[in-house]
Amino acid sequence: MSLKPFATPWPPPAEMGKPKRSIDELYAAARGGERRALGRLLSIVERGGQDADQISDLAHPDAGRAHIVGITGAPGAGKSTLVGQLVRDLVGAGKKPAVLAVDPSSPLTGGAILGDRIRMDDIVDPGVERTSAFIRSMATRGHSGGLALAVPLAVRLFDAAGYDPVIIETVGVGQVEVDVVGAADTAVVVMTPGMGDAVQANKAGLLEVADVFVVNKADRPGANDVRRDLDLMLDLSHMTGQESETGYRPPIVMASALNAEGSEEVWATVEKHRAHLDESGLRATRRQHRIRTEVRARLAQAMAAAAEATMDGDGATLLRQAEAADISPTQATNELLTHLLNKGPAS
């Protein structure tokens, strides 16, 4: 038995290989329904930089129609299974849903195992998937900053390509993930029995962003306890004045996604929230909040890059002085900040 891999250089036929198309061409093709082009554009969006900005600018005028739904919850809560059910239901109802499934990258290697599709593909027929739905996995890619930039842009692209609704699925850990879901039109938080009481949910900061609660695995013992705990916490939100001004109270839906139970009610509840946004005028507020979150993330990233550049460039002298303890770190920071801000807007 050979212990060597039998790798040989692969001679691809001349017509194969990913065609090199411009971003404009790819965008036009994606708008025309070409899935390969949309897949390519999403990769460019993930890499970030000027090409991603160009896609954002192209998509901006064509976007703004899709209802954006964020789905979050602890690992193993059944988010992907539920999303698979929702996609199947939505396609059945003649809609074109897109899913952005976010999974964490390894902080050590930058690699990732993206395992959300494995749940969804069992539910969604590939033939249907290739015509009416689009599921894309995205890794967090190290520092959370990248996610905060890539997700809104990917959503804009899906929206411009005619997908509605756009569902973002993310593990509910980390502020950026919570922000991303909180900036959706409708935020769905998936809970399960056996994950600790509602105090834990309160800790995670998810209660504040939820528009709809799903208690998944409702066939398991303790599901009603979760529901009761959630209800109690929502009563407290009311007491402390955190309840929305319009009197909207996040409904709690019991579901068992693996048994295909509850997904229709989940979506009906999302639709009710959608109607509430339209009736109350809160949709515009949500959008403003979302834009503000995105612009803040972009500014923060640009400024962090500028700070790094300054520390290695014309601010290096000040940094050396701080390192040599000639000046304090705060003094160095303040002088560098003054220097940065006086440089004026980046060209």
Binding site: P5, F6, K18, R35, G39, T109, I113, R130, S137
Partner: protein, 134 residues
Amino acid sequence: MSDEPQLRIILAKLGLDGHDRGLKVVARILRDAGMEVIYLGLRQTTDSIVAAAEQEDADAIGLSMHNAGHMTLAPAMVTAVNDAELGTPVIVGGIVPEEDVQPLLDKGVAAVLGPGASAEDVAQTVRDAVAAAG
């Protein structure tokens, strides 16, 4: 973490073949080599893999085969990828007798990884296949 484009690799078992331990090991190897692995797991079809490769903009497709179906299934996968004009290299791992390797390569399979391939071999084979596909 470097400035190199992040490779995105689809890993799947094609057809009726329940032996996914090896595929899970490969998934971990590629993740530890800094790649993003889109793990499709068991009982996939050429259709479902092509659908995923399209949406995920995969750089390579890795098939694990332990059911002696490689001479039928692997070329079928290559044909499906070509029909969809994806140009994604198809890499086969698992149990493939040595005399079957060259016929598979002749039918357009990008590389065949046998038992005993080291983690470095696996990652490098994937990188080479992606580079050759352009």
